[in-house]
């Protein structure tokens, strides 16, 4: 299945003239254009695992180090951005290739173990909710999203994926409580998907401002959310609570292919409970 993952990876890169032929090979009618790519990956949903797996919800840090460590552990040189979605899918394809090419059964099993671990730790841990969000906001990537989700489900179904909690989630701090930790910390952890269980994009905040009739401050999401909370805290908290309920439905409706699903559901439930208390 390596070539499918590799081709899907290329479509998560800036579009080129080759994108059409690659999309065609994947039976995708139309490759996303540069505008759709920029809107999605450059401005809205950064395609880096560290953003969705880390306690800070930001690029780099421990999640990226862990992924780079995996590359080194298998004797490969980590690329400059080892946690970029394209790099991760490309790496997974390479692991499939190595497994398929290994003639010695012991080596083949060793590569198989590496592939399954990689799938468990660094792909299935964050991609299901990430793909849910893409399918909500980027219709141009609809076919690509469906295919990638199916490919992941297929890979998970064909493999004995470990059943423990991915290491990224083991020492994650709890969602910050605004009453004890302050509003800034609370907002920061709300915007860290691995902590809050939900993915809040700038279009989501724009939607909130429309629905609540509040002003939307330009700049980073945390400033925008902080400004909205300052304008009308109860209604903003209620809106956020509604988001958690929506995400609970989405998580529960997603395919039960991986243990990470429970983490996302549990974190979303805790966030909902906290919002309920402070709202």
């Amino acid at each position: 299945m390596g070539e499918v993952f590799r081709a899907l990876a290329v479509l998560a890169e800036p579009p080129t003239v080759e994108s059409s032929s690659i999309a065609h090979a994947l039976a995708i009618d139309r490759a996303p254009d540069a505008r759709a790519y920029t809107e999605l990956f450059m401005l809205t949903l950064y395609p880096y695992a560290s953003v969705y797996l880390g306690a800070d919800g930001m690029l780099g840090g421990e999640p990226r180090d862990k992924i780079a460590g995996f590359w080194r552990a298998i004797g490969a040189v980590p690329p400059q951005e080892p946690d970029h979605l394209a790099a991760l899918l490309g790496a997974y394809a390479s692991l499939e290739d190595r497994e398929a090419e290994a003639s010695d059964p012991v080596r083949r099993e060793s590569w198989s173990h590496a592939r399954r671990t990689f799938l468990h730790e660094h792909l299935l841990s964050w991609l299901p909710p990430y793909l849910i969000k893409i399918s909500e906001i980027a219709p141009a990537y609809g076919a690509w999203t469906t295919l990638l989700r199916d490919a992941l489900a297929n890979a998970a179904g064909c493999s004995h994926v470990p059943e423990n909690v991915p290491s990224h989630f083991r020492d994650l701090p709890a969602l910050a409580d605004p009453r004890k930790d302050g509003v800034a910390a609370f907002i920061a952890s709300l915007l860290a998907p691995a902590c809050s269980g939900i993915i809040l994009t700038r279009p989501d905040l724009r939607r909130a401002s429309h629905e609540l009739g509040l002003g939307l401050r330009q700049g980073e999401r945390r400033f925008a959310l902080e400004a909205m909370l300052a304008q009308d805290p109860p209604r903003v908290l209620a809106w956020l609570h509604g988001e958690t309920q929506r995400w609970l439905t989405l998580h529960r409706a997603s395919l039960p292919i991986h243990t990470a699903r429970e983490h996302w559901i549990e974190r979303t439930r805790q966030t909902a409970a906290l919002l309920n208390e402070v709202g």
Binding site: E3, R6, A9, I22, G75, V77, A86, G90
Partner: protein, 972 residues
Amino acid sequence: MSDSNFIRLNERVSAAKRDVEARGETFYPGASRIHLAAFPPKERWDDWVELESRTWPQRSERRYMLVPTTCFNCESACGLLAYVDRDTMGVRKFEGNPEHPGSRGRNCAKGPATINQVTDPDRILSPLKRAGARGEGKWIAATWDEALDDIAARIRRAIVEERENEIMYHVGRPGEDGVTERVLAAWGVDGHNSHTNICSSGGRFGYAAWMGYDRPSPDHANSRVMLLVSSHLEAGHYFNPHAQRVIEGKNGGSKLIVIDVRLSNTATHADYWLPPIPGSEAAVLLAIAQHIISTQRYDREFIRRWWNWEEYLIEERPEEQPAFETFERLLSRMYERYTFEFAERESGIPAATLRAVAEVVASAGTRLSTHTWRSAAAGNLGGWQVSRCLFLLNALLGAVATEGGVYPNAWNKFVPRPIYEPPHPKHWNELTWPQEYPLALNEMSFLLPYLIEDGKRRLEVYFSRVYNPVWTNPNGFAWIDMLTDEAKVGLHVALTPTWSETAFFADYILPMGHASERHDTHSYETHDAQWIGFRQPVLRAARERLGETIHDTREVNPGEVWEENEFWMELSWRIDPDGALGIRKYFESKKRPGTKLGADEYYAHIFEHSVPGLPERAAAEGLQPLEYMRRYGAFEIGRKIGAVHDEPLSNDELAGSEVDALQRVFSDAPAPRGPNVVPQPSPRDPEGRRSVGVVVDGTALRGFPTPSRKLEFYSSTLARWGWREYAVPAYIESHVHPSRLGEDRMVLISTFRLPTQIHTRSANAKWLDEIAHTNPLWIHPDDAMRLGNIATGDLLRVTTESGYFVLRAWVTEGIRPGCVACSHHMGRWRLGETGQRQFSAVVRLDRQGEVWNMERTAGVTPFASADSDTKRIWWTDVGVHQNLTFPVHPDPISGMHCWHQAVTVTRAREGDAYGDISVDAEKARAVYRQWQQLTRPAREHSPDGTRRPYWMLRPLKPLPAVFQLSDPTPHG
């Protein structure tokens, strides 16, 4: 989606990929993270579209033709891709060439900065002829014809009058493999003069003494331990290709040990940084060797098979039993004095640290990659023992020509056999190969002013070729003295793309091309493989892709800039227009006899006949070999060359051969004509038969091109030519050894380089100049305190044996206490407004008898030019020219100029100004005389009446008879 559907989809994508790649095209494009590719796919190099950055945020497209060439800054020969604008047919930028096996698409800052050199508003675009006195700074335009006729007439006259040794070509980094050497050979002139004795000959000598070849090719990427004596990640010819492989090695878990007085960029990446007292490096290495020997961690079988231990026993210990066990016992005894405590006393590094490092080295086994090039080997009296002792570690561990170990360079380098091979000259030039230095690995170039003065000799025509001895060499005032004296130098021709301090003192300045304006083939030892790179005038290649025919590179280059190959061919025709001198025949077309050879035919012949696999590879893409090289710029001939020394000799090679008592195989059959003519040492037996191999355990193997045909732990050459005490790897106390330094003296390290400059060649690159443009004196806080609480920025006077210079302090813990350091590249100057303005200060030069003084009258200032950036120049300081104050220090064995200086550092005196320089030429001459006393000349020490061991490498190798000291032919 079901499993079977997924399998079908996967097969569909795989089939699409196969189809595209079968057409020689790229399925997955760059830039892509999936395979680390960030390069335009090669099938789109004819028409590559990018958004124009200058019209942002408007999205306007620009179309480019991508044409490969090779960088011409340092000697690594990294691949570049020139982006030729299809609308203007001008080069817009340079990026890396992903098809290049050495650099793999990655470049250092100097590669992309080639565009600055091409567009430098101060570059020289047409031939210039001096109008006033030499050095007066007055120039008039000249035509190429005028210059060529004048130069050719002088050279012809010198050849006809048998004054061949009055013709000299003095080269900096060649950037090519042997073309100009063959031009000189065709003229019958022993006039090749390299810069190598101010550069790397110390390092080379140590390697050559071991394996005949004078350069190593370390396999860092596959090593377990890397041991580097210098700063490879920022300086050195191997800067980019080796740096990327050093990092690959580190990422693979290899330990990095760096021995360097300074905390260099490389040292910052090291697992162990050892900053020794300068000159003690060999002592440190010998202590590590002693540890390996005493703990019996050495590769016994490798040593038994490949060291010349039998010869050592026969020559040095004839009273002992000639058995390997005897040698082991003696080896152990020989090195027992090099304890960690001894090394601590010499180097100042704690014995415990040295022991820990020795353990790491010992654990490397055959995956020890080591390297040194300049650094300590170029700094110290006896510096050549640093590379000899470093390679001793490889030889002990058997890490020679192994994966992760060190290969001889010639096995990882490919020099294709050219269209013509003129014979070597019938003369010996004493100006470059004087009898006082019979073992010097390279020409004694930096002594030229003294050799001319002492021998009352002269040069009729002196070419300085992309070389700047007035600035680069030690004792530059002696060069000015020589170049301004027309009785000593009849005609000075500067072949240079840009202004230099040496070009100021020329009669003609002839503009030569940069990386994108000249043809060369070039190969380097970057890893265990053989490849060639092709430098080409990219606009010529671009126009030819569009169907034009270009006959002369001046048709496409900026202004009247020429390339050297066509220049040399034209000059040779004018020297010998009717062919009577026997020169012209080497520059004639083979396809159209009687007409001039052109660049296309010259390189087409090489690529069709001398590069194995290239014609087939080109044919697979429907191209001629020359077309292939013009399209891709590089070709890999082979990978995993492996242990050539261990290859059995073929029956053909053994036919008619004889084996002597030391099991060496000699043959009087002519050498086979292979396609690779990489320079090889040429050992022979007394009867003049070629050495072809050595019998090891009953099998005739190829071995190494040394006199013993083995790795020479014992150098019979050193022993027989008067240096018996240094015939085995040993420690020579440096001229800056603490016992020789006065109380107030410190060691000045002047050789280190900055990652964004390359000698004087990069001075016309504005991006590089903005990044690095000054050279303050590195001084440790302890020393700064001791010398009077000196702070960063304070003005200091540094006094050498022959003068002083004034510069500012930079107080840093990144240097060993007791040492100071001042970087290379900086302190460029010009005598007036003419010159390269963004990186040179205006100076006033004054001479009172033997005392020269230089003072800075103006720093760099913004100026209006065709490049609007020159108005934005914000720096004024370009550093201080320290080399002027260094007298020559010729190593009596290797011939290397030993750069380290014993200096006093004080606060500047009243009246001192930044950039002041003063030199007493008489004191400088006296230092030369002192060092001359150390030599053991051929006339007193030659074992066989020759000038130099015949087997050693020499760029031009005169006929064997001319090696005889008694030979009556002209010698200079």
